[in-house]
């Protein structure tokens, strides 16, 4: 607190903290921009935000520091992650630029802008720092001080931000809302449907009898064809089923046929059977 009050320079501890954490913050920011996967970007950003929260605290903004962690890192970033998951966590961006000259222009602009800002700050006469000691203690603490300002001087802005939040909530609802075109099924109807439908037991799991057990790989039916039923509906609709298609099966078949020919097996039946390695039932029948 005394160090803050002194104010033209900071304590050695704070300087140490600044250089260490500042480097971390810059690295986090750069990784946010440069990492391919959105999840990684989000995590880097979260790190940067936590560093910033520490800096807030160091600057005497105790309330904001906590709010930064709770609201930003805790809520907003989680919202981001949520949407990233919704959109597809595995989807990696290609960092190849498609717009001609966009990258250089962007870098030039950002660099120029940053230099301008830094030059502006350097030119400004900011030699004295008053420190927040007096302000924070005037009403008994940082939170009380803020509350005093919010509910007196900034009360209208505060109320208006309330209205803004409501509006944003409504807006988000409207944007993501989909009109229901049919009546929602009751539980009874759903259970009856299930009993009458094809699948009374749970749907088959993905990857069964196949070489993979990932969620996005369809399980294979006894005749070797992949069954889309085994893949989760969301992935199916998103088109994120991994390729174990007839094409790759056909490739395998052709490979086995070629090797069979080389080994001199002329039994067409055997070749045909051999060409279908993914149907173990048939193979076992032939073995009998």
């Amino acid at each position: 607190m005394n160090a803050l009050a002194a104010a033209t320079t900071t304590s050695t501890g704070e300087a140490f903290q600044f250089w260490i954490l500042g480097t971390v913050a810059v690295i986090g920011a750069l990784s946010t921009v440069l990492l391919k996967r959105a999840v990684h970007s989000a995590l880097s950003l979260a790190g940067t935000m936590i560093v910033l929260a520490v800096f807030y605290l160091a600057n005497g903004a105790y309330f904001l520091g906590i709010v930064q962690i709770v609201v930003y890192t805790g809520a907003i970033m989680m919202l981001f992650l949520f949407v990233v998951m919704l959109v597809g966590v595995t989807a990696a961006d290609s960092l190849k630029e498609t717009l001609k000259g966009q990258r250089w222009l962007a870098l030039g602009c950002s660099l120029g802008f940053g230099i301008l800002l830094i030059a502006g700050i350097g030119n400004a006469s900011l030699s004295t720092f008053n420190g927040l000691g007096a302000a924070n203690t005037a009403h008994g603490g940082n939170v009380e001080g803020l509350a005093n300002l919010i509910f007196t001087k900034y009360v209208f802005a505060f109320e208006i931000t309330g209205a803004l939040l409501i509006t944003a909530t409504v807006g988000a609802m409207v944007l993501t809302h989909r009109e229901r075109t049919e009546r929602a099924k009751t539980q009874r109807e759903m259970s009856e449907e299930r009993v009458r439908g094809k699948h009374l037991p749970p749907l088959p799991a993905p990857g069964v009898y196949a070489r993979h057990n990932a969620v996005d790989i369809p399980g294979l039916l006894p005749d070797g064809t992949p069954s889309e039923l085994t893949v989760m509906q969301t992935l199916r609709q998103r088109g994120q089923i991994r390729d174990v298609s007839r094409q790759s099966l056909a490739d395998l078949k052709a490979l086995e046929q070629r090797s069979g020919e080389r080994l001199g097996r002329e039994d067409a039946d055997a070749v045909a059977r051999g060409a279908d390695p993914a149907s173990p039932a048939e193979n076992s029948e032939a073995a009998k």
């Binding site: 704070e14 920011a29 600057n59 907003i76 919202l79 950002s110 800002l117």
Partner: protein
């Protein structure tokens, strides 16, 4: 150390965020970079607050956070609905107005 360094850091973060907005194509990442820029501003505001010795800067930073929260809500909703209709979160794909 002079606390002005916080301002330099804020300027640096802001420039990095801006370049991210301009370079990245994934709408979500672009959005994150916008958040980064906002945070850089907040850092500057908090530093100003310390500089002037009153709490007004912190109040403004607080409001920025509130507005940013509202913005995130709406923005993410837009991204979700965009993704729903176009099966893509690339900002370049939302370019129906090009020639």
């Amino acid at each position: 150390m002079n606390p002005v360094n916080y301002l330099y850091l804020a300027a640096l973060l802001f420039a990095i965020g801006a370049s991210g907005v301009l370079i990245r194509r994934n709408a979500i990442v672009v959005f994150m970079c916008v958040e980064l820029m906002l945070n850089a501003c907040n850092l500057a505001l908090v530093t100003f607050s310390r500089m002037h010795g009153n709490l007004d800067g912190q109040i403004v930073a607080f409001f920025t956070m509130v507005v940013a929260a509202a913005e995130v809500v709406v923005g993410l909703a837009i991204i979700v609905s965009l993704f729903r209709s176009r099966h893509s979160a690339s900002v370049d794909d939302a370019s129906l107005m090009k020639l």
